[in-house]
């Protein structure tokens, strides 16, 4: 009995030890909470660069709260409701605009959109783009000599061609692919997914899992971006990874940020929104996020971007149509893969 008590006392001490905050000597600077997804925040993503650059000018602390998926960012804020500590949500994309606005949790960004230098129209007053890119299947030239030249060729390819994709319910590229298929095939999307399903090794929760599996040799192609080869060229001087150019065109992704209507630090949040389209934030994008920046950088794009695939057409769908049918299209995808 005494031993049991001494054990309990011991575990109580351990517990108290655990409860002591990690940053006991926290400084008094205000903290800006940015809710984002894990790969943005990770040490090899743009997170640390952006944090350092913003903290150098704001006299504040930038704190990332990483959700395990892009869509998890918004649902986390919804779950926390009005009491949320979030100032900024960063990492939703153009395919989530309408439903994200419907939550009523977001406020206008107040940033003059004329300063954007992008090849697409943007007039949204709530969401501010921070990068963009084109979905594409990446392959290893040494393993796959003859990749499909169009989406149709991919659909018709033999089932020995293995691909990795992401779950449209959790990942923005995953949803991007569902919409890409929808834009190309409309009512025939279900049959296209039936044909694709035999080639899909697994449907991962997020982009990083799928890409990791691909690099480990688990599939011939992975859904990523036309800009992904730039990473391999810049970081490890590796030229064997290529994006497959599809003749019908590529789905487009515009990643966006917004500030919360109930942000605990509204002024800091506004400063961060302005910071997003400044050189300090944008220069991190092509070298750590591996996407296109939304303004022209002083030094231009890195040389690795020179030979990248330029899409034959940029495929997007009307945001209102997406909001209306998204659940139905994702169900269609799930059903096609379920059988």
């Amino acid at each position: 009995m005494r031993k049991l008590f001494s054990f309990l006392r011991f575990s109580l001490w351990l517990s108290l030890g655990a409860a002591v905050p990690l940053h006991a000597a926290a400084d008094q600077r205000p903290v800006l909470n940015v809710y984002t997804y894990d790969s943005f925040e990770s040490e090899w993503g743009p997170g640390p660069i952006v944090k350092a650059a913003f903290e150098a000018q704001c006299d504040c602390e930038l704190n990332y709260v990483a959700a395990d998926s892009s869509t998890g960012i918004l649902s986390r804020v919804q779950l926390e409701g009005a009491g949320s500590r979030a100032d900024i949500v960063l990492g939703l994309d153009n395919n989530h605009l309408v439903e994200a606005k419907r939550t009523g949790l977001l406020a206008p960004h107040n940033v003059p959109l004329s300063r954007l230098q992008v090849p697409f129209e943007w007039d949204d007053s709530v969401f501010l783009p921070f990068d963009y890119g084109y979905f594409s299947f990446i392959y290893n030239r040494d393993r796959l000599a003859d990749p499909p030249a169009s989406f149709q060729e991919l659909v018709d390819a033999d089932h020995s061609l293995k691909i990795l994709i992401q779950d449209p319910r959790s990942s923005t590229p995953g949803l991007g692919l569902v919409l890409w298929v929808k834009a190309l095939y409309g009512d025939r999307a279900f049959d296209v997914w039936r044909k694709l399903s035999g080639k899909i090794v697994t449907v991962t929760r997020g982009w990083s899992e799928a890409y990791g599996l691909f690099l480990d040799g688990e599939a011939d192609m992975v859904l990523s971006y036309t800009t992904s080869p730039a990473y391999h060229i810049s970081v490890d001087g590796e030229h064997k990874y290529r994006a497959a150019a599809f003749s019908e065109g590529h789905g487009m992704q515009i990643e966006v940020a917004a500030r919360l209507a109930n942000a605990p630090n509204p002024e800091l949040a506004q400063r961060f929104m302005n910071f997003i389209i400044s050189e300090g934030f944008q220069s991190a994008i092509p070298v750590s996020q591996w996407m296109y920046p939304v303004v022209n950088l002083a030094d231009g794009l890195p040389p690795a971007y020179d030979g990248l695939v330029q899409p034959a057409a940029r495929l997007t769908l009307d945001p209102r149509r997406i909001a209306e049918h998204k659940a139905q299209w994702v169900d269609e995808f799930s059903r096609a893969l379920s059988r």
């Binding site: 998926s69 649902s75 090794v201 449907v203 480990d216 995808f333 799930s334 893969l337 379920s338």
Partner: protein
Amino acid sequence: MFGLATALAVSLVVLCALGALVAEAGRVEVLAELAKPLTRSIIRFTLWQAALSALISVALGVPLARALARRGGLLGRRALIRLSSISLVIPSMVAVLGMVAVHGRSGWVNHLLSALGLGRADYLYGLTGILLAHTFFNLPLATRIFLNQLLTLPQHTWNLAALYGMRPRHIFRHIEWPLLRGLIPGAAGMIFLLCFTSFAIVLTLGGGPQSTTLEVAIYQAVRFDFDLSRAVALSLIQVALCGLLAAGFFAFGAPFPLRPGDYPGIDRPDAGARWPRIIDATVIATASMFLLSPLVAALVKALAPGGWSIVADGEFWSALRWTLLIAPSAGLLSCLCALSLANLTVTLRRSGRVAGWAVVPELVGLLTLLAPPITLGAGLFLLFRRFTDALSLGPAMVIVLNALLALAFAVRILTPALQAQRSRYDRLCAGLGISGWNRWHRVLWPALRHPIAYALAIATTLSAGDMGVIALFGTDDLSTLPLLMYRLLGAYRVEQAAVVAALLCALCAGFFWAIERLGAAGQTSGPYA
């Protein structure tokens, strides 16, 4: 009294959580949800994989239990049984990691196949992966239930069998099978329920929408779509289905007690024959290989030099500290609740007139096994955010929910023990006027000490390995070792994840060992031991 309060509190927590969700969602359309083809295919898959898992575990558990019962003197038998007694509490994320290392595309099996020139087999993700992992967890459980029963046969049965010259198949047909038959529905039912609500395994090995269970669909509805009305509808479907099935199973077969303990070898007449020897050797070797390889593979990965950098990471220490706080607290809370529920059950059973009501506290214990933790968690979160900063309550909620989840197991362990002790001594105590603390301390505690420690150990280790609750509440500041593993696996830092897995296992083993030892220490010193 305490029992009644606990039963009320537990049901209140569950009802409030559901109520808060319904209030937030506005409306809940269970029938409309049931009408969707996707929902129906999810339900079908959930039932199908759980049924297959239960079938496979039971079908393999019978020969394995038989082999272990026959081979009393086998080297390593004790270790294998010991290991299978903790299989229930091996963190699911550790098992998933091991499964990937053995059965993944670049796993051991595929290395072996390609070394033999057979090419690669791609079978891990999807139904096969789920079944493999579920069998990994539940084969030991089934085996232990059957073995327990086989070893209750007294030596003179075997002497008689030898006298009659019974052959192995006669022994099976006339002695073993009648004994096991009654247990099969209960064991299969238990495994079915565990697999029905399986979460982490399906989430990681399911391979996408083609194999989604209700539990995962609920998680996705909350976490990805924030579709609370769908989450509640799916939760109600799950609880109803699960409850019906549970009632069905337990009506057929008596629920078996979970018992700690060692399994002595018995001298059996059929141990010496040649064929049984060959069969047993094959069965035990195959099972050991299947059950041990994922753990060994996880360990081998952990020994790779790349992974240990995680120990230098602040994230790791934070997760370790939270695990050390959450697991023992949840274990203790769960044990206390289970003890008072068990006491209420026994009191009611012995009351004569209202004995029928004894199922109520038992059902309350079971309810927490059926209700999805994500739903409970989201409901409590919505409830508390009305009054306070719900985020700061995260740790408390993780503790409470983990305690609830472990309750079903703790109740299973404590009720039979308490029942036995009270039916022995209640009259004596009443006659001698022993009551209150004296009765507890001098009469009940000495016999309950061991089961309580076992229940505490199970509840603590279950909480340490939990993924279902922390998946919802986890943040950067609040993460446990399993969640850290999940994140590392997601970032494809497998070696680091393996190191965390090894440390998590060591921690669980440490908890188990320490608590069980504390319990066992009393057995020799108690006055009635």
